[in-house]
């Protein structure tokens, strides 16, 4: 019983963004060109433009108040983005024979400077900062190739080996690890392999609950297509709108609902990866195999250093019968953490469970749209109940948001169990609405950085995973470290730093941080930013946290790989790289740093 998706209609083939992505996506910021926060200084109100998001068209009266008070932002300090300067884009290192031959085995090939610039970066704060200030990267791809199928990729990699051209695969371009940046010292021609034209679902297997999918498909397209057939992968990272399947595999991504569906490594059944020595794949698609160490393990998280992931067979699940949101508030963050820990010990995991600290809660409240009078009235009543009757301190309380998925019976059972545990830790159910907006806002928050950057405010997020007994201390210490380093780096006002616990595991949790600071008066904002980021990361490691839970290593965290996996561990990775890619064709310099033909002498 194989369902072919070839014949499905127009809606099915709609893409998240077109081949020339800058037509719909910002070239120097997050997301769609038509969607952004607009601040009107005269009325002191903010609106969200476009019509793509529920927030669009609404007035956000509190956003800039929060921005001024909680982030100490100065709205008179304006740092608008510079327009695109085509002359500042580095000249390409051309390889005409490669280009001529590559044209024959791809859907499209472009040497357009704008395309090249679009493919030379991800969404790290420093990348966006550089784009906005017209100091483009020293090195960007020299040509962008859009393969149409697995065989195209095989041929392109062969050509790259033949002409010694570097290949950097790219999906949605949402990397926040510097993985897409080209190594500055690379003198060979660099070809970016834009995988997003490879977006077909080859087949869906309702019998064994698997789907075979091309790796360039963007998350929202994948989910929409599967949904029309009644399925879902259940993989829902916050970047779902723009990130690609291949990118998820290459970075070891994690989705919000991992408690039900697992992380990416739990979902893949089979991976096809084209390496410089040929295609690496398993010959069977089985639930489990005992055949030595699993080769998938070194493909997952390889970050484009070993080859191009072209096709993935993934587990799928029928759409859940029931999805319900929920939320609970706790008197403080520590109580909330204890609650999450208890939930994990009792193994009653809802699809998603997240705990926002007070700073992030304030942040969330700030981007809530304007309320009607009746809503305001009921809000006041609720607030009175929580602060007056229950004695919660509004500057301490933490909000836990929940998603339940499954059969109606399971969801109801889980709900009652969860709220019973919450009560043990002083939690009060805070309604479905609070939970739902919490999750929906996630997509909008990514747009906020661009607004902040208009006022010299640099912001970034980072994450880690840590055992339960260290969650609370880690969050506390990292916040404190950032505050101290900001002061040392000459940041004039206290930074914004908020966190949430986003995933619960049996042995620990994933913590997610937002931090941002006003760069007014800071001599070199980028240097300050990177010093702060490094200090924060080192504090995380000192507190027993991992170098990353799902963002990956890329280039910004490659200094910490060796200490994370031991020198021997790194040597093993280098050895694999050396064997599969002796000429360093996949020379993006991620993970294990820049290696190349000179690799052996370095070792």
């Amino acid at each position: 019983a194989v369902v072919s998706t070839q014949s499905t209609g127009m809606e099915q083939d709609k893409k998240a963004f077109p081949l020339k992505r800058q037509e719909e996506l910002k070239w120097n910021g997050w997301g769609y060109r038509d969607s952004k926060f607009d601040y009107d200084a005269d009325t002191d109100t903010t609106t969200f433009s476009g019509d793509r998001y529920p927030m669009a068209g609404h007035v956000l009266p509190n956003l800039m108040k929060w921005f001024r008070s909680d982030c100490s932002a100065n709205l008179n300090y304006k740092t608008p983005a510079m327009p695109l300067d085509l002359n500042a884009i580095p000249k390409p290192v051309r390889c005409p024979p490669f280009i001529e031959e590559a044209k024959l085995c791809c859907k499209h090939l472009s040497e357009d400077p704008e395309d090249r610039l679009m493919h030379g970066h991800g969404h790290l704060c420093e990348e966006i900062y550089m784009l906005r200030s017209n100091t483009y990267f020293k090195r960007i791809p020299d040509v962008v190739v859009y393969p149409g199928c697995h065989d195209d990729v095989v041929k392109l990699v062969e050509l790259a080996v033949k002409y010694n051209v570097v290949i950097i695969p790219m999906g949605g371009g949402t990397s926040v690890s510097g993985a897409l940046m080209c190594p500055e010292e690379e003198v060979r021609p660099i070809a970016s392999l834009d995988m997003t034209e490879m977006n077909r679902i080859h087949w869906i297997d309702p019998e064994n609950l698997m789907a075979h999918i091309e790796s360039g498909i963007i998350g929202q397209d994948l989910e929409r297509k599967l949904e029309s057939e009644g399925y879902t992968t259940g993989h829902q990272p916050d970047s779902l709108e723009f990130s690609s399947l291949g990118g998820w595999v290459a970075t070891r991504a994690s989705g919000m609902k991992k408690n039900v569906y697992g992380n990416i490594e739990d979902m893949v059944v089979r991976i096809k990866m084209v390496t410089a020595k040929g295609t690496l794949e398993k010959s069977c698609q089985v639930p489990r195999i005992s055949a030595g160490p699993d080769v998938h393990e070194f493909i997952l998280g390889s970050e484009g250093t070993l080859g191009v992931i072209t096709e993935v067979t993934m587990k799928i699940k029928p759409l859940p019968e029931c999805t319900r949101y929920g939320s609970a508030i706790f008197p403080d963050f520590d109580k909330g953490i204890q609650f999450m820990h208890a939930v994990s010990r009792k193994q009653i995991y809802p699809a998603s469970i997240r705990l926002m600290d007070n700073d992030q809660l304030q942040f969330g409240l700030a981007i809530k749209p304007e309320k009607t009078l009746i809503e305001q009235f009921t809000d006041t009543i609720k607030r009175m109940y929580i602060t007056r009757l229950r004695g919660f301190n509004p500057t301490k309380l933490a909000l836990c948001t929940l998603v339940f998925e499954g059969s109606t019976a399971t969801v109801e059972k889980q709900e009652s169990e969860i709220y019973a545990v919450a009560a043990e830790y002083g939690g009060i159910p805070a309604g479905e609405e609070n939970g739902k907006t919490g999750y929906l806002l996630t997509f909008n928050i990514a747009y906020l950085r661009d607004l902040g950057m208009n006022y010299g405010f640099l912001a970034e997020s980072f994450e880690t995973s840590v055992p339960w007994d260290r969650v609370s201390d880690l969050v506390k210490n990292v916040k404190q470290r950032i505050i101290i380093v900001c002061r040392e780096e000459g940041v004039r006002h206290p930074p914004h730093i908020s966190s949430r616990v986003t995933q619960a595991y049996d042995t620990g949790a994933c913590c997610y941080f937002y931090f941002g600071f006003g760069s007014e008066g800071v001599p070199d904002p980028l240097k300050a930013y990177s010093a702060i980021e490094r200090s924060a990361r080192e504090e995380v490691l000192a507190n027993g946290g991992s170098v990353s839970h799902h963002h990956g290593i890329g280039k910004v965290r490659s200094d910490y790989l060796e200490s994370s996996i031991s020198p021997v561990g790194k040597q093993a990775l280098v050895a694999i790289k050396n064997e599969l890619d002796p000429n360093n064709i996949f020379g993006n310099g991620n993970l294990i740093g820049v290696v190349g033909p000179s690799l052996k002498s370095k070792l």
Partner: protein, 621 residues
Amino acid sequence: YRPPKYRNIRYRVPCAIREEVLQSNRVRRVISVVGKETGRTREDLTSEASAILEEMGHEFSETILRCIGGLIRKVFKQITTRVTVHTAGLEELRRLSSQKPLLLMPTHRSYLDFLLVTWVLYSFDIKTPVIAAGQDFMFMRGVGALLRRCGAFFIRRSFGKDKLYWALFTEYTQTHIINGDAPVEFFIEGTRSRTGKSLQPKFGMLTIALEPYFDARVADIGICPITLSYEKTVEENLHVREMMGTPKPKESTTGLIKARAILDNNYGTIHVNVGQIFSVYEMAQGKVDRKVRALVPRAVIPSVHPHERSFVNKLAYRVILEQQANAVVFPCSVLSALLLYRVSNKQWQIPSHELEVDMQWACGLLISLGCCVSWDNSADLAHHTAMLAPVVFQEEDNVVVDKNPPSADHLNSVFKQCHSLISLGRRRNELMHAVVHAAIIAKVLMRPKTRERTLMEYQQLRDILQYEFIFMPGRGEADFQCTTQQLLDLGLLTVSADVYKFVDMDTRSFLTSLLDPFLITYIDSWQFCISYMPRTAQHGQNIKSFCNRVQTYLSILYCEPYTHGESVNLTVLENSILVLVKLGHVVMDKTKKTVYCCDPLAFSNAISLFAFTIYPLSAKL
């Protein structure tokens, strides 16, 4: 009084703190371990733990503090001329008190120390500390309870292997640091220094206090060395007696009431200086890898790693050196040094005008060596002499060192004049930290020597005197470099063709006179050791009683007239033995505190070589 609070604080009342300690992982684990070892029940041990905490814990109350604050102010007003404070340092302390947990480490010279610190912090609107105090005060009726309410918590002097006590004490200290209820104050010297010099640092409490950082329970800890410089300490006389062997009187409330006479005296000026506040995070960068501990679950009681231990040791020395750098030396200390210099030349009666000139010169020298002397260029000799009373008095135009001071009435005649000399020595010691390096170099350069040889002998003397003064371990050459450069810049030293020569003879003899009493005593004490120290472990003698024997021997050896008091100063004698232990000539049993020397011949050769090279002028040898 609305002091800023630590940003991550959770409000807890004192009994809640004790309850949390009782419920802590560490204490519960230790209870189960001890239970298995001794067969005692959980309930039994828990109630013992609870009783220990009851005995240990503070009962801090802001209301009481407010009441006491005024009283303390009155007391200080009564007994001192003035108390000066370093406001910039206190401002910094207040700023940091909301940022990170703080450890306050004052110098310890007097019982008044912690009242003083608490009162100064209270006056400056800084959260007053909880203070690790010895149990001596606890038994004072009323006073103990009062101190508890001011934040003092009491620790047994010795609890050796008592695991439960150790766990409770550790947890109790650490919980204050982790939660930042209040700064934690303790004395890095461990006890009051009777000698006027800094004592060698103790590492135990500091290790406990820094563990929350090593364990990543807190992001940083601020360490604030505080120097309390007294023009005259209240307990001066008692300390001199203790150095000579009279045991410390037991603290009691009746004793305190009896001692109310101190209210009638004037103890001059007190300077409170807050030193540079160290960030443990910054100092530990590259030295302590916290990741190592992250692999030990919180449920397991962690052990201290060697790299952490060596970091703590270095830091302890840094704290003491910082305390010394911020010490204010009073002119009466300089006067003591000058008087002792005269006495060593058998002059017990010195014309005032000569002393005035000498004071001018000596204070100038000290200031040029970087010492902070509270000297305003006008020698108010009467005042300085009064501060040295009763062992020194002014008679017509002379300043006289009393050979038979009234405070030594209880002593037999041999020790009477020593009392005056030890008392003056104690005051002189207050300036030693500033000149010790220069004095060693002056001693080494009794005749010109090559740089290499000077350095070697400097190192040698530094090793010998390591228990007497504070030297940062491993910094010998750097300190030498720094001091010789200073002496060269001042023109006291010349160097030509790699040969150092001390050119200023007055300065040299003054500086060496500061060191000589120690060196002479050491050599004399060692002479006794060669002949009389037990040879085998089973004959080993307790170090304290052995020192008493040395003291008796030296008092007979010297008889009158004494030229320096160190020969009968038990603290110096003990140091002279401890350094032999350190240098490997003498063996000391750590638990029984007994000493013996198995190879007196080798030891004797080493000593005579040392005595000959360093001390060719010693008349006694």
